[in-house]
Amino acid sequence: MLFNIAIKNLFGAKLRTSLNVFVTSISFFLVIFISGMYDGMREYAKNITIETEVAGGTYWHPGYDSMDPRTFEDSHSIIPNQIKKLIDQKYAFGVLISQASIYPNGRIMPVVMKGITPDQTIVNMPTNVLDQHNDIAIPVLIGSGMAKNANLKVGDSFTIRWLDADRTYDADEGTIVHIMETENFKLDLGNIWIPLSKAQSMLAMKNQATYVTYAKDLEAIKDIEDWIHHDIDYMIRDMEAIIKADEPGAQVMYSILLALAAMGIFNAQVLSIFRRGKEIGTLMALGMTRSRVVGLFTLEGGLNALLAGIITIILFGPVLFYFGENGIPLPMDYSEMGMLVAKRLIPIYSFSLIISTTILISIIVLVVSYIPSRKITKMKPTDALRGRAAV
């Protein structure tokens, strides 16, 4: 019975209910949409990193720090036995990193030179192209961003200069054999990829590597000497940090939106109790307990959340669906800022996100509906019937 009365009352207050429901549904929409974007960014960074760089995880030389090029010089050693076994079984591959300078079109450009096993299939990189050019002194694979920056195309040759393990200068001609399109800027900008065996002989670092990447679904091995194991979460920690740094801003916006919706509902409740004093008195006189009357008013307020949910599905559902399918084109290329963000960001609306958002908004709406309704418990039915109820 309470539910029927609540519905009747709610639909009776047409404009007020519409406004409350609309504001709440906008809150619903924006919280889901923005959280979905963050989840999409996280998922994208994670997927791209797994697909192109990390696969199951990595083992790093203890001195290596991917964010600090100063460590590259000394971060190489013979691969520990247990990890080497994985490589021999083709469950892993090694990468040897060194600083170098290239001279495309006669101008100097510092790069990170990475030797990689050409026949690896563990990460999504066209490294096999490095194995098809035995006639070239140093076959080089680069990304399209690097090609654009250095004004290079397939077939172009340039001098590569490096310091070997003995810190002696050496130089030879590298030739671009392929330009890859990759969404992972970490493989692209400022990097040149050459065959691992070539890198090892160029740098006089036979059988050495800087890090080893292993295939998905493999257990991490324990006996890795002083090398360090890093999982996927570690590898996307920078992206997580950027999102975490950005989240407080979004949370302020959620709070403002939710506060607007809550204030609308709170205001409507206070007004209802003030204006509907006689109705409250009549209900009490007819035998309805105070707690049931409070429940009725709280339910009326709470139904706003339900209606807002329905309106969100009807009004904003298609918008969410559209962006979920087609993504949101971003105005700039964030890869040049060192962020792994898709050029077309696809928000991800997870089940847990929708449920948690619904619960959060419902709780807020119920609380702001209940707080003014508590006044009813202090009302005298006689005063209420006379319309003298003080709120």
Partner: protein, 247 residues
């Protein structure tokens, strides 16, 4: 400190009368004797030639043996106050803009000094040539009307930047007029030449060095012009303290 790379070019004149009888080792030894002056105080200009304009950087250097060197940049205003200190294998720089002392190490040693064609590595390498290379005389040739030996130097120790050099050594001055620096693969990396040789404190000494990174197609080279040089002057130990970088 800049003398690091140029050490090779420096030689004395007192040996030139015997130069025709000199072996490659003798020539290197003579060079080292000149290079390893007890101390040097140099005021110089580095002219970095760019595509559009040239940059001139003035500096003063204090050098003791091959282990200690201190450089203070005097101009232009942007570089003035920048200091470098070399103690053995370590190189420290101080920049007044950041008010920080940084140790240059690893890959940073390969970067160019003030945008010139010289790297920090080039500056650091100033051990006696005789210790680093074994030399052979390839022949003789006339260069600018003067008689020169063509010498090939191959590294005999590990860990030096240029494993091979070819030098055109003036038979009278015992100074290389021209030098080519090669990579391990034999690729020519840099060239250097010296001009304006004159007698200073009893030794022949060039007043201008020209370095060129041969891999940079558009490079016009870097000139190092010696305005003033004093040999074997007493330099206090405090000149080579890290504390002096900030002063």
């Amino acid at each position: 400190m800049k003398n690091g790379l140029i050490l090779f070019f420096l030689s004395s004149s007192f040996l030139f009368t015997q130069s025709d009888q000199m072996s490659a080792d003798d020539i290197m030894k003579a060079m080292d004797q000149n290079l390893n002056a007890e101390s040097r105080i140099i005021t110089s200009k580095m002219v970095v030639k760019g595509r559009r304009n040239n940059r001139t950087i003035e500096s003063k250097n204090w050098v003791v043996g091959t282990e200690l060197a201190f450089t203070e940049y005097l101009s232009p205003p942007r570089e003035a106050g920048t200091k470098m200190l070399k103690i053995g294998e370590k190189l420290y720089t101080y920049s007044p803009q950041t008010d920080r002392v940084i140790q240059i190490s690893g890959h940073m040693l390969r970067q160019s000094v003030m945008g010139s064609d010289m790297s920090y590595n080039d500056m650091m390498e100033d051990r006696p040539i005789e210790e680093l290379y074994s030399a052979t005389i390839e022949g003789s040739t006339m260069l600018d009307g003067r008689d020169h030996w063509i010498m090939v130097l191959d590294a005999k120790v590990k860990g030096i930047s240029y494993p091979k050099r070819r030098s055109w050594v003036d038979k009278e001055y015992l100074l290389p007029k021209k030098e080519e620096l090669y990579a391990k693969s034999g690729k020519l990396l840099k060239t250097a030449s010296l001009e304006g040789i004159k007698k200073i404190e009893g030794r022949w000494f060039p007043s201008k060095f020209v370095y060129k990174d041969e891999l940079k197609r558009n490079s016009k080279g870097t000139e190092w012009i010696i305005d003033n040089i004093q040999f074997n002057k007493k330099i206090p130990d405090s000149r080579f303290s890290k504390a002096l970088l900030r002063k």
